[in-house]
């Protein structure tokens, strides 16, 4: 288990990691999710021992490893860029951590074969990395991390430089690759979908702090903070300030919708609500809900994303099927009250949809 206790990292007055504590169990794939500059990479550098924290400590299986040099950390890293030894064959690339360790040839053979099999690299073992496609090069890097059998495996956005389809393919394989390795596997990404799909646990980062951490489904269903719900939502979460009065939610423009029983039971006052795009329906004007104007629609083939505006508030709705609408069309936006997240004005969860 890797444990970070109140870790902070500053550089030239900029705070990269701010008093962050985190526990990562062995045998699980942990995803660090957050936008650029949220601290993902800084955190990885601390875990690898490439940087020393300004304050706080790191513990591996209970042992303090804070000042331990990167060479003694027993950790493997895969980067966004495809990092391989250009002059070595794929076989030797994969074998390199074993050679460093001084393993016997028979053992190396076996380990490399096994890793190559798992990552579909068998036909390419005698080639050089430069002769492979980007996806295959990254597989080589992953295989090398795998055979090292390190207790800490750090994957820093390893799929970010790959084509969309290759990314999808490798994403499906990743959890299987490290299954049963008993290592602490950490994976950073800025794509919520990726985090949901591959993470055993997901940790949302924002401005160098952990907003929330937990099982992906639990975080998705009950984000304890508004910012967590925003980080985990793709398309972006609709967020609105409302005044709650009885069962009604009043928006800034004197529009109101009924929030149902769950909302009625909360204290009256000002709240922020969050609603995911696929829980917002778009209908003809006059069918109740919020009257808004369509700004733009995007069609993905199977779905339509409608961006509509009321005053200064932008709503995003995701509809099934292809229903393009012209800009300027008047529509009714119908939020599904059962799916509303209610946060207080500081962004702490007050009420989540029942599952």
């Amino acid at each position: 288990m890797l444990e970070l206790r109140s870790v902070s990292k500053r550089e030239r007055g900029v705070v990269y990691i701010d008093d962050l504590s985190l526990c990562l169990a062995r045998g699980d794939l942990h995803v660090l999710l957050g936008p650029t500059l949220s601290g993902k990479t800084s955190l990885m550098r601390l875990m690898a021992g490439l940087d020393l924290p300004d304050s706080g400590t790191l513990h591996m299986d209970g042992e303090d490893v804070t000042g331990l040099s990167v060479r003694r950390r027993d950790c493997a890293v895969v980067y966004q860029q495809f990092v391989n030894y250009p002059s070595l064959s794929v076989y030797e690339n994969i074998a390199s951590p074993l050679r460093v360790r001084g393993a016997r040839n028979a053992e190396i053979d076996q380990e490399v074969e096994q890793a190559a099999e798992l990552l579909g690299l068998r036909p390419y073992l005698s080639r050089r990395p430069a002769d492979l496609s980007g996806g295959q090069q990254q597989r080589v890097a992953l295989a090398r991390a795998l055979v090292k059998k390190a207790s800490l495996v750090l994957l820093d956005e390893p799929l970010a430089n790959l084509d969309y389809k290759l990314r999808e393919e490798l994403r499906a394989e990743l959890p299987k690759i490290f299954k049963g390795s008993d290592a602490v596997v950490v994976y950073t990404t800025s794509a919520p979908e990726e985090a949901m799909l591959i993470g055993d646990t997901v940790t949302c980062l924002h401005e160098g702090q952990v907003t929330n951490s937990g099982k992906p489904r639990a975080l998705y269903n009950r984000p304890a903070k508004l910012i967590t719900a925003q980080i985990l939502s793709d398309p972006p979460l609709n967020v609105l300030r409302v005044r709650k009065n009885g069962a009604d939610l009043e928006f800034a423009d004197n529009e109101r919708v009924s929030g149902g029983e769950r909302i009625a039971s909360l204290a009256d006052g000002a709240y922020k609500i969050g609603l995911r795009a696929h829980h917002l329906d778009v209908r003809k004007p006059g069918e109740g809900g919020i009257q808004a104007e369509v700004k733009i629609t995007e069609v993905t083939g199977s779905e339509t994303i409608v961006h509509a505006e009321l005053g200064s508030v932008r709503w995003t709705a995701l509809l099934h099927g292809v229903t393009p609408m012209d800009a300027g069309t008047r529509v009714s936006l119908i939020p599904d009250p059962a799916k509303l997240f209610v946060f207080d004005m500081d962004g702490a969860l007050v009420s989540a949809p029942t599952e």
């Binding site: 550089e11 900029v14 650029t36 400590t57 303090d64 000042g67 040099s69």
Partner: protein, 293 residues
Amino acid sequence: MRKTLNHKALWLASPALLLVAFTALIPLLTVVNYSVQDTFGDNKFFWVGAEWYKEILLSERFHAAFFRQVAFSAAILAIEIPLGLAIALAMPKKGWGVSVCLVLMALPLLIPWNVVGTIWQIFARVDIGLLGHTLAGFGFDYNYTQDPVAAWITLIVMDVWHWTSLVVLLCYAGLVAIPQAYYQAARIDGASRWAVFRHIELPKLNRVLLIAVLLRFMDSFMIYTEPFVVTGGGPGNTTTFLSVDLVQMAIGQFDLGPAAAMSVVYFLIILGLSWLFYTVMTREDTDAEGRLP
């Protein structure tokens, strides 16, 4: 808490540190030691404090040598940096011409200092030198052993010939590192050649130029071998630069104390000016965001 981070690093660095101690630190301290003492031989020394420093800093000989040195470095930088940049810009960026140009450029850099001096000393002689004889043949009153202007021009031309290549190679490396997208965007924006240079190439070469300026400044400020070989500091004192003067004082006259004090002053001047160049040229970058995500 175990702090094992630096121990190994120190051990690994120790041979280099030891070497630096013997080649730089200990000689420097010896010089500092000499600069505050006087001797009448017999290996007997006595303390004179800042006496030599006062003498050096107030002496007209030092002022004149210092002024000549600054003028020389200024001339060198004013010629070599723009010229080197211009040649780098004009060099082909792909094709067979690249390697030909690079080899041609590297040639002068491969010749040792004293050989460069000797080559030019002979090359520029009026009686047997190709350059001197030809110039004289065209009716120019050229004689670097008698005419201070000719001596200066000879030294400057020689240094430009020898060292502009270094600036060219540095700038060339900087230029080929600029992503093609910048040039393409500029073409699409209808930018003139001058605008491309002013707004893309020059800003992107900022760092490289800093290195070029620093290297050429330090080197030219310490120039010794070439003027010693070609002009010997003459005619008169007109090409007696600080370094030449220093050696004359230390070895020619065996004035160890003043020479040591002058060495220290000389060292501090170079350090100070280099620092000045560095801060001025990197000032623009300090407000940029820290590191990349």
